[in-house]
Structures are given as C-alpha cells and as structure tokens.
C-alpha cells in the first residue's frame, strides 16, 4: 500500500510515537494535574514535556501558552469564538478550510459578526505579498478586529506571507489568527517573530502525533473567553474557570497517551529538522509534478508553488472515481473538496473537486513513480 493522504493525517507514525503511547498506557497513565501521587505527577510531567517541545518548535516563549485541543478545528473554534465580540468584522483568505469558514459563517449567520474574503492568488507563480496585503487593506473597516490566514493551503502548496501579514496586523492593532494545519512541522514557525496572536495546529499531521491531538499557541497576555468549562484540578471551589493559561482553556481530562505520543512526534520533527523535512517533501513534489506535467490529460492546480501537497485532475474522470481506481491499485489519496470550498472555487477545480497528494517524510521517489505509472494506465484505459 502507498499512502499519499498525509495532508489529512500522516501515516505511518514514527516508531518512537507508537512506543511512547504504549509506554504511557502501561506505565504512567494517571490523571494529569489532579493529584500529587506518583502516577498523576508522571502524567502531568509528560504533558508538560509536550508543551515545552511544542513551545520550542513554534517560537512560543512559555510552555504555559500552549493549549491542547482535540484538533485544529477545535483550536480555531476556540480562537475565533473566544476572541471575537459582537459587532466585529473579520477578514479571511480565499483559501480557508471549513475549520475557519464554518465558524465564521455560523457567527455571521447569528448576526454576531460580519466578514469579508481577501484574495491570495495561489495560481500566481510566486507569492505576491504586496497584492495580498493590498487586498487585506482594501477590505478593512472601522470594526475589523481579526485577520485569519491559512499558512499553507490544504489543497495545494500555496503559502501565505505570514510574517508580513503579522506585521501588518500588529501595526493596525488587529488580531492575527493562523491556521497552521498544513505547515506545523513542515515550515519554520516562530509565533513571536511572526507576531501571531493565536496559532492553531494539528498534532496528527506534520507533527506526527496521533489523531485527537491539536494545539492553540496563544500570545502571552491575550485572554479568550472559554469555549468549554469544567474541572481541571485547580481552584475547585470556584465557579469560574481560572484566569490563566493553559488551565483556563483545558476543561476535563486531557488525552495523556495521545499527548505523550505527540511529544515523541515533535521530538522526531525537531531531530530531523524542519529544513530537512521540507527539502525531502519538495523533492517528491517536483518529481511528481514534473512527471504529471508530461502526461496528456492531467490538469495541475497551482503547480509552481512547491511544497508537500499537489492537487490535480484527470480529464474526463471525476475525482472520486479516479481515487477509487487508484485505491484498487493500492494507492491512498483523497478526492473531492477536502473541506475547502473557498479554496476549490479560487483554484477553479470545478464540480467534481480534485485529487490531492500529500507527502510525509515516510514517502519515497519509487512511490511517486508508481503513482505516475498508475495514473498513466488509468488515462490510457479511458481513451480506449
């Protein structure tokens, strides 16, 4: 089996991740932060280790600013609903995932906020920072309070100029929220230098942790209203949630085995190095793109933007049907709209969506060549 659905979730996970989850379940899976007995403390220390690793990877000054969530969607909902107030105006990019679009759409539907969409020109050969910033500036209103940007698209490898948007927002007193679902662990991120107020990331993609893990890195001093309230082992006599991070935002028992695995995943990424991971995945991207470009009947979307994700269609074959044929050949990739209708509309993929290949460090050139051969075979059979 060849797995190219890493933009949805990476598979396989590093052996160290699997081993640490197993070790946690066998040796130290107490309830973290609830007691000072040995097993509870061991679990709490494992979770603190994970916060510290995540903070170091993402340029967050303090581990306390890392808030654990179930996934990126959970983190984005926390940031969006916890930071926005009634009457606010928000700007989102034309490549946002439904993890951003749906909460914004829902809040707008309830009459709580208004929003506009700014263009990002993913089909251009290079990122046009000036045009993107102009697009944001043109849409600013007196009540604009937040700008949201998907660091890297979940459809193609178009990357937004996060550093420049961060500076733009800070100069104007706007909150800057980044969806790092496709960039955490693949591109260098420094929340402090990039002036990011809230960074939302998955644990189960480029950080190689298990599903059910995600995080929100919240700028120090920024306080959100809470999405969930409940017990967390401190100030138990208070009706109110604590007013400090991360406990303010983490109600209920954390997923200790999953976070122990995530910690091992982040250590794997830091040991390999972001530059090395990015370079390896771009080599595979170029190899696939260049071969598919040579095949008649293949349409590529935003191919000039090199990265870890490539979107394409086989002319005359609906993407779901093409994915089913690839699955029969033992190749896993994702067809359809990838929970990103805004991005698909921007890229003009049409009524059937498209096929998406997402690489991880565990893919190799031979797998790319097999994919190209199978695609060529499918196209050949269709023409007969």
């Amino acid at each position: 089996m060849i797995y190219f659905d890493n933009a949805a979730t990476t598979f396989p996970k590093p052996p160290t991740v699997r081993r640490e989850i197993d070790r946690c379940l066998r040796d130290y899976c107490g309830n973290p932060g609830r007691s000072a007995h040995a097993l509870s403390l061991a679990a709490a220390e494992a979770i603190y280790d994970c916060r510290a690793e995540a903070a170091a990877l993402l340029g967050v000054p303090s581990p306390e600013q890392i808030i654990f969530t179930y996934n990126t969607t959970h983190a984005l909902n926390m940031a969006i609903k916890g930071l926005l107030r009634r009457g606010d105006h928000v700007l989102i990019s034309d490549m946002e995932h439904n993890a951003v679009y749906r909460p914004i759409w829902a809040l707008a539907g309830f009459g709580e906020i208004t929003y506009d969409v700014y263009p990002t020109f993913p089909e251009a050969p290079e990122c046009d920072t000036t045009a993107i910033l102009s697009g944001i500036e043109e849409r600013l209103k007196p009540n604009t309070r937040m700008v949201i940007a998907s660091h890297i698209s979940n459809l193609c490898s178009a990357m937004l100029p996060i550093t420049e948007i961060g500076a733009f927002c800070r100069e104007r007193g706007l909150l800057f929220v980044v969806d790092a679902a496709q960039s955490a662990g693949i591109e260098a991120i420094d929340c402090t230098a990039m002036q990011i107020d809230a960074l939302c990331a998955p644990g189960h993609k480029g950080l190689y942790g298990p599903q059910g893990t995600g995080l929100l890195a919240l700028r120090e001093g920024l306080k959100m209203s809470t999405l969930l309230e409940g017990g967390n082992g401190i100030n138990s006599l208070d009706g109110a949630m604590p007013d400090f991070s991360p406990e303010r935002y983490e109600a209920g028992t954390l997923a200790t085995p999953a976070l122990a695995g995530l910690c091992a995943g982040i250590r794997f990424v830091r040991a390999r190095g972001i530059d090395s991971i990015r370079a390896a995945e771009r080599r595979l991207y170029r190899r696939l793109r260049d071969q598919l470009t040579e095949l008649p009947g293949v349409t590529l979307y935003a191919p000039a933007r090199e990265g870890s994700t490539l979107l394409f269609n086989l002319d005359g074959i609906p993407s779901a049907e093409a994915a089913a044929r690839l699955d029969e050949a033992g190749i896993c990739l994702r067809a359809g709209f990838h929970c990103a209708p805004l991005g698909h509309a921007t890229l003009g993929t049409g009524e059937d969506g498209a096929l998406r290949v997402g690489f991880s460090v565990f893919n190799c050139a031979e797998e790319v060549d097999v994919l190209v051969r199978v695609v060529a075979h499918i196209l050949h059979k269709m023409r007969k």
Binding site: A44, G233, I234, D238, P242, P246
Partner: protein
Amino acid sequence: MQTCIAAFQSMTQALGAQRALSRAAIRTRVVKLNANQTTRGCAYGLEFACAQQQNVKTILAAASIQASSYIGGGQP
C-alpha cells in the same frame, strides 16, 4: 531539614518552576496543598529546603515565574 513550600496557581506552573529550579540543582517535590493553604480549593506547590528559599526566589524571578505565596520558613 526544615521544608518550605512555594505555592502556585496550577500544576503547569509548578512543573515549570520545578524545571527552572532543577536546572539550578535545587531539588524540589510537587505537593498538593492542604485546604488551609489555599483559598479556592485544589492547588499545588513545590516543597524545598527552607535554607534555599532566597535562591528559589531569585531563580524563579529570573525565569519570570511567580509563586502565589511562600509557606513556612518564618516568612509570609
């Protein structure tokens, strides 16, 4: 050995403080505070040798970690 406690608002803060003190070779132990040592219910602290109290305060201040209170050692 007389022991003192640095009280913190949360387990996360206590563990952060413990790491900072460990780097300075000061041994501590995480303890759950008694009800009469807190005002809002469950809270945690770090137990350490009272002789180290000034060092503890200095190291935590340098690490921008603030204990909510110090218990024992004859100081408030």
